[in-house]
């Protein structure tokens, strides 16, 4: 078992190094000047050269990469060019805000998706199936930034029921779990939940249909179990796969949604990335991508380890 764990960790190390390299190379390959946020286009050539030296952008790329990785290994992701604030604290704040939104969105998506999926699967071919299937197809097809804008128009601009933007009456810094703050999450979370809702609904529908066709269901009915009793068995059998899909969806949402967070001015990782991209704030961009990518690598590593612990066949493999 120990050797399996060590092997998994060893596999993850080159992936991490590759992720760091790709992340660094991609942002440097993109066109545009990294000093655009602090150096106006009318700055003199001498000043531009002076600033490049002061920020170290005149050094060869490999040298910049090694210095960046070395600092990152020590927990220092550098300083944002645009704001002068440490990248690590900016990213951590944003991850916290996105996590809050992603968990709520996944929960909504899971509940609605499961309900639609079970209804559609259980009543296959009937109008509830068609309605639930339509909603799940809409969930994965409708552009969510468009849906976000429509929600804002309906629930904020026209009715004034919910706040249109932001992460609390005083910003995310003073977040509390009460209605005054929670209402700011509703629209972005609902908008964010439609894709997981659609995916989970479709998965559950297929699962339920498959389970219902199995012989043990016939056996259960033959034993005289009521519809409710049969349904409970179907739920129990479908739950592990539905939960696994939900876990994957949570992983995707943790990366933040640039579009949704921008539409709702939600200060998460997507909003941060958007700002970093438009300001060509390379340290911030690199730091955010690195943290998110590492998050996925570590998450996958943990899943591998947990699966190995649960299923000895995987460990042996």
């Amino acid at each position: 078992m120990l050797s399996t764990l060590l092997r998994r960790v060893a596999y993850a190390l080159p992936i991490m190094a590759g992720v760091a390299l790709v992340c660094f190379a991609l942002v440097h390959l993109a066109p545009g000047d990294p000093l655009v946020s602090i150096l106006p286009p009318d700055a003199s050539a001498e000043l531009a050269a002076q600033m490049r030296t002061l920020y170290g952008f005149d050094r060869p790329l490999p040298e910049q990469f090694v210095a960046w990785v070395w600092r990152a290994l020590h927990g220092d992701l550098g300083t944002s060019i645009a704001t002068g604030r440490p990248v690590a604290s900016e990213v951590l704040n944003a991850v916290g805000n996105t996590l809050r939104l992603a968990v709520l969105a996944t929960a909504i998506g899971f509940v609605l998706g499961s309900v639609f999926g079970f209804v559609a699967g259980y009543f296959q071919g009937s109008w509830p199936d068609r309605l639930a299937s339509l909603l799940s197809v809409l969930g994965v097809s409708v552009p969510h930034y468009w849906l976000g804008m429509v929600m804002v128009i309906l629930f904020s601009a026209l009715t004034g029921w919910l706040p249109a933007t932001g992460a609390g009456p005083d910003g995310s810094g003073s977040w509390a779990w009460d209605w005054q703050h929670g209402q700011y999450m509703l629209l972005p979370a609902l908008t964010m939940s439609v894709i997981p809702m659609g995916i989970i609904a479709r998965t559950v529908r297929a699962l339920v249909a498959e389970i219902l066709a199995q012989e043990f269901i016939v056996g259960l009915r033959a034993k005289g179990l009521t519809d409710g009793g049969v349904f409970r068995h179907v739920v129990k059998n479908a739950a592990p796969t539905a939960l696994a899909v939900m876990g994957l969806q949570l992983g995707y949402l943790l990366g933040g949604s640039i579009l949704i967070e921008t539409v709702f001015s939600w200060p998460g990782t997507g909003f941060l990335l958007n700002s970093a991209i438009f300001q060509r704030d390379l340290p911030l961009l690199q730091g955010t991508i690195l943290v998110l990518a590492m998050f996925f690598v570590v998450l996958n590593l943990l899943v591998d380890i947990v699966q190995s612990l649960l299923d000895p066949r995987i460990a042996r493999g």
Binding site: D33, I38, P40, A45, S156, G160, A164, G171, W179, S275
Partner: protein, 549 residues
């Protein structure tokens, strides 16, 4: 009533109560909530980033400069007025030295005194690399806006001497961009800062200063949440009684998405939005909000290439393009949110200069010039313009450019576009028409600020500003124009300087160095309860006189 129904009723009542209580509480406190177009709070340490929106919201409200723009009038050009300096004059013998007399009795928000030492300190923060408080991050946005400023020297507590690298009559205009931060407050932050080296400590001190800033402006910083909000309270001891704020609090919120800003205003979450969504103007006004706009020194042109082989080398072609743009039609397309240009500055401006070439919509005259140059609709002239699909200050580049493309087609132009990402276009602007980044384009569409003579004209017309030095992307300029620029730079009497600049402007218009298409009008939508708003002919606006009913 059933139990679930009772619960639902109670919940609805609580919701209604909370919805009622929030606006009441805000109304009592007189809070002005502004949604900016920036994606982040512009830097608060004295030299803002995010272009002139930064100066507008974290520069001018929190800080003062030695000289100010007059933002009190909507119906006249915004001109230079005294700020922290009460008067200034160039040395009669040595035109590189200026003496500024400082305003007595001014205090920073932390209570320390503003004086000549503070001016010297603030010049050193961006120009003296040996100074302990030198901050590289502030150099770019400062030094480029006052390119000739070299150093400062204290003469006495209320007199300071500024030295320029060459005689430069534009210095007082440039100094509107140098905001005075409190040296005493910074020193406190420095003393409390950690860091292995003095440079590390200085960096930490500036970060701490940005989170708890101190200037001399009409508003002082009270709360800062990175990327989310900045709260300002009035500085009741402000030196200018006319600009002492009348409201209790200003909250600045970054909201880069136009629809999000519009929805925030419509739902009552903010009271003021910058650049509302263009197609929502009627809906905004239908809700009783007011749209403010005014002619702004914000030029939206095609900057033409004068490099060898450019189709624009023929003056008749340049003038024809200017005559073939239906600006009134464009005005309708934009719902009235533009001003029709007659040049870089409008008639009546001190730098206008009565050019002979009248920029107007006269397609017949345009076609005639094109025919003289050998072009027609049957034999169109191919031109290529590098444009962006969006971008800060770019208005609505795609529909606007396509509109102009159709206009020019009728006059014998075959306009092609090279559409690239905004920041890339912005970077290419410095590289010039001869650089491969131009991708064969012979015109570029980058809007620009025309606040001071360097920004408005010099950088586009001097042979000293050819790429990569500055933004003379099209290599327009010659010895005659350089002489006009030198005359303006060395005319130290305001009237003489403006007269020289007027001659330069007239020359640029007569040469048709640009295709002048539109001037932005800086639209903003503001709730009806907000009064006292004066939108000057400027990129900036003064929040101090604003009141809330």
């Amino acid at each position: 009533m059933t139990k679930p129904l009772k619960t639902l009723s109670a919940l609805s009542a609580a919701l209604a109560l909370s919805a009622l209580c929030t606006p009441l509480a805000l109304a009592q406190e007189k809070v002005l909530r502004i949604a900016m177009t920036a994606a982040d709070i512009p830097r608060t340490l004295g030299q803002p980033d995010q272009g002139f929106e930064g100066n507008r919201f974290t520069g001018i409200p929190m800080y003062d400069a030695l000289t100010h723009w007059d933002l009190s009038k909507a119906d006249a050009p915004s001109v230079l007025v005294p700020g922290l300096a009460t008067s200034w004059a160039v040395d009669a013998k040595d035109k590189t030295k200026w003496v500024f007399k400082l305003r007595p009795g001014v205090k920073f928000h932390d209570g320390s005194a503003f004086n000549a030492d503070a001016v010297v300190w603030n010049v050193a923060k961006v120009l003296d690399k040996a100074a302990p408080h030198f901050d590289a991050s502030q150099v770019g946005v400062t030094a480029s806006r006052m390119p000739t400023l070299k150093s400062a020297r204290k003469i006495d507590d209320l007199t300071v001497e500024l030295t320029t690298a060459e005689p430069d009559a534009f210095l007082p205009l440039n100094l509107t961009n140098l905001f005075m931060a409190s040296p005493a407050h910074w020193q406190k932050k420095f003393d409390a800062a950690g860091g292995a080296t003095p440079a590390d400590k200085a960096k930490a001190a500036w970060a701490a200063f940005a989170a708890d800033a101190s200037g001399t402006g009409p508003f002082r910083m009270t709360r800062f949440v990175a990327r989310e909000r900045l709260e300002l309270a009035p500085n009741k001891a402000y030196w200018d009684p006319k600009r002492t704020p009348k409201i209790d609090k200003v909250v600045l919120l970054p909201m880069p998405e136009a629809n999000a800003r519009t929805a925030a205003l419509m739902s009552g979450q903010v009271d003021w939005i910058e650049a509302p969504a263009p197609d929502a103007m009627a809906a905004i006004q239908g809700r009783g909000h007011k749209i403010y706009f005014n002619q702004q020194p914000h030029v939206w042109p095609w900057q033409l290439s004068f490099a060898e082989g450019s189709p624009w080398l023929d003056k008749r072609v340049r003038q024809a393009a200017n005559l073939c743009v239906d600006r009134t039609g464009l005005l309708k397309l934009l719902g009235g949110m533009m001003a029709i240009p007659k040049g870089t500055v409008p008639p009546g401006h001190p730098w206008w200069g009565n050019p002979k070439f009248d920029i107007r919509y006269d397609p017949e005259a345009g076609k005639k010039l094109m025919a003289e140059a050998g072009w027609s609709t049957a034999k169109p002239l191919k031109v290529k313009v590098q444009i962006s699909a969006s971008g800060s200050g770019q208005m609505q580049p795609l529909p606007m450019n396509e509109f102009v493309q159709q206009n020019l087609k009728a006059c014998g132009f075959d306009v092609q576009f090279d559409v690239i990402e905004w920041n890339t276009l912005f970077t290419n602007w410095r590289k010039g028409a001869k650089d491969p980044s131009a991708n064969g384009a012979n015109a570029i569409n980058v809007s620009f600020a025309a606040m001071d003579p360097f920004f408005a004209m010099v950088r586009f017309s001097s042979t000293k500003t050819f790429p990569p030095v500055s933004n003379n992307w099209g290599y327009y300029g010659n010895a005659e124009i350089d002489k006009l620029i030198a005359d303006a730079r060395t005319s130290f009497d305001d009237k003489a300087r403006d007269a020289a600049l007027a001659r330069l402007h007239a020359r640029i218009v007569d040469d048709a160095a640009f295709v002048w298409i539109a001037h932005d009008v800086g639209p903003r939508a503001i709730a009806a309860k907000v009064k006292g708003v004066v939108q000057p002919r400027s990129w900036f606006i003064d929040l101090a006189p604003v009141t809330i009913d």
